[in-house]
């Protein structure tokens, strides 16, 4: 899907950067003296500065959510089907901001950035960051952009966790929280999958305790395996069967271990593509941020008490075949909001595409988003 100027799209976008000089105290106890936030914006901020929407990305996302960076880009941003003129998040109405999270590898300060104290890149020395740390850094970015309150904060999966965190950390700065395919904390099974992915990276002989860049190498096999494991868990059994069945790449059975089934070839392709664009240290950090997220922890494990401080309206969406962030997890969020009379709507979208559904233009899903965004008052 190359850039086509005749097709509905935000078009060519250029990432921006913002350096925050105020120190950021992290949950880990460490401090980032200064840091860079790389972000993209779509649409126009109105004069009252009331139409800004924050997009929070998930594990493997970045700041490039919509449009094309270059005219010959093969693919648009990761949520281009949802963000743009006349799309569910309509950039004719809203000003959309999507930052790359700290610890990421898309241009914000992270393992690939230069560590001012050593002069070399951080690599494994980049502190482990949490969802709370991300929200704090995003709030600083909002200050820089002079956005007092977001018309909405929206995200899927790990992005949805950030929307939850925003709603309770800054109740007066979030008017709507759109929490998609998320959970208030990871399940045991989810943590286990993350650990398997991390072990794949850590066990790669090229990992070098995270100092692979200095040795001009990279744990590509480990990162590829981590991605392949993750990717399978984001899809569903039915979805995979519908897409690949038992189709072969070759009609002859080879009695060897090459990629003989279509699904194997697909996995290899996905893994290779990921390795080319992602950093292994970032992958480790992002999975840890997922594991650690548990905003009810400081409220006696009672999510109802945590969410009581929110004042946003909520839209919570789950997908029927998502077994990594199942509808039951979304229902927990909804139940906690109902307890303190928050405005909340919830929908479970019928879909066979598993967790990845949140990135797909499923008609019911996008229609609900469209209607919800239309109802958001920006005047």
């Amino acid at each position: 899907m190359k850039y086509d100027k005749n097709k509905e799209s935000i078009g060519i976008v250029t990432p921006k950067t913002c350096v925050i000089h105020e120190p950021l105290s992290l949950d880990s106890g460490e401090t980032l003296e200064s840091y860079q936030m790389c972000y993209e914006t779509y649409g126009t901020l109105n004069s009252a500065r009331t139409n800004a929407v924050l997009i929070c990305h998930a594990l493997s996302g970045d700041h490039h959510a919509a449009g094309y960076n270059q005219i010959d880009d093969r693919k648009p941003g990761w949520w281009d089907n949802c963000i743009g003129p006349n799309k569910p998040l309509d950039t004719n109405k809203f000003f959309v901001v999507c930052p790359n999270n700290l610890g990421g590898c898309g241009g914000s300060t992270g393992p690939l950035s230069k560590n001012p104290s050593s002069g070399k890149c951080y690599g494994p020395d980049f502190p482990i960051v949490t969802v709370r740390d991300w929200v704090e850094s995003q709030a600083k970015l909002a200050d820089e952009l002079r956005i007092k309150s977001w018309a909405a904060v929206m995200g899927g999966s790990l992005g949805g966790m950030q929307a939850i965190q925003w709603s309770v950390a800054y109740p007066n700065r979030v008017r709507n929280a759109i929490v998609i395919a998320a959970a208030s904390k990871l399940s045991t099974q989810n943590i286990a999958f993350n650990e398997i992915s991390r072990q794949a990276i850590l066990a790669d002989p090229n990992f070098n305790n995270g100092h692979y860049n200095e040795k001009n190498t990279a744990p590509t096999d480990g990162l590829k395996l981590a991605r392949m494991i993750g990717h399978m868990t984001y899809l569903s059994d039915d979805g995979l069967r519908a897409k690949f069945g038992r189709e072969r790449t070759d009609t002859n059975t080879s009695f060897s271990f090459g990629a003989e089934f279509e699904v194997e070839s697909y996995l290899q392709y996905q893994g290779d593509a990921f390795v080319n664009r992602f950093d292994a240290n970032t992958y480790l950090l992002m999975t840890r941020a997922l594991d650690y997220f548990d905003p009810a922890q400081n409220h006696g494990d009672d999510l109802r008490k945590t969410m009581a401080s929110a004042s946003a309206r909520f839209l919570v969406i789950s997908f029927s075949s998502d077994w990594r962030f199942s509808p039951a997890r979304s229902r927990e969020i909804v139940r906690s909001l109902l307890y303190s009379n928050k405005d909340v709507s919830y929908c479970e979208i019928e879909s066979e595409f598993g967790h990845d559904s949140f990135l797909l233009p499923i008609p019911d899903y996008h229609q609900i988003l469209t209607k919800y965004f239309r109802g958001i008052c920006i005047s």
């Binding site: 909804v334 109902l338 909340v344 709507s345 019928e350 609900i368």
Partner: protein, 203 residues
Amino acid sequence: MKISELRPELTLIADWIENGSKVLDLGCGDGAFLAALREEKQVIGYGIEIDTDNIKACVDHSVNVIQSNIDDGLNDFEDDSFDYVIMSQTIQAVHHPHQTIDDMLRVGGQGIITFPNMGNWKCRLQLALGKMPVTKHLPHSWYDTPNIHMCTVKDFDELCKTRNIGILERATLNAQHEKIIGMPLFPNLRAEIAVYKINQSLS
């Protein structure tokens, strides 16, 4: 849409609801009723719906709606968390009406239920002629009807009695959907729609 423009039974229900109260509407449809209650009676409302198109319509009305199957119970809701739990023209389609009513009265102080009255003379006449009733309010054939638990006014009164449910108000609507004024004669014969306000009887 204004309350006065809604189905007559909903206009009647609205009269029974205090301003500023908290309402849960089971099977809330497109949310127009909750939206009207919010505008005209400052009600804090939530709807439950199973149908995705209705969810979209509720979102369009900026009405809080939770997609859920009533037959799975009202587990998302705490005890005594609503002033009223409404179920209009839905009781006949749930799997276990008595359990749903129990759940309504667990969650809400009062329950408001409306249903098509199978005891109406038109239904009785069709049965007397040997056919399952098909009327304006029960338009389905016996084999494809979602209405699996039809009852009469008399049946519902008996259910309330045996399960110790208090009947606070009862109204019946005739074929023109006008309220049958006063203590009607033969309500079970004349009513097409029955409307009840109930609570958990203390005795």
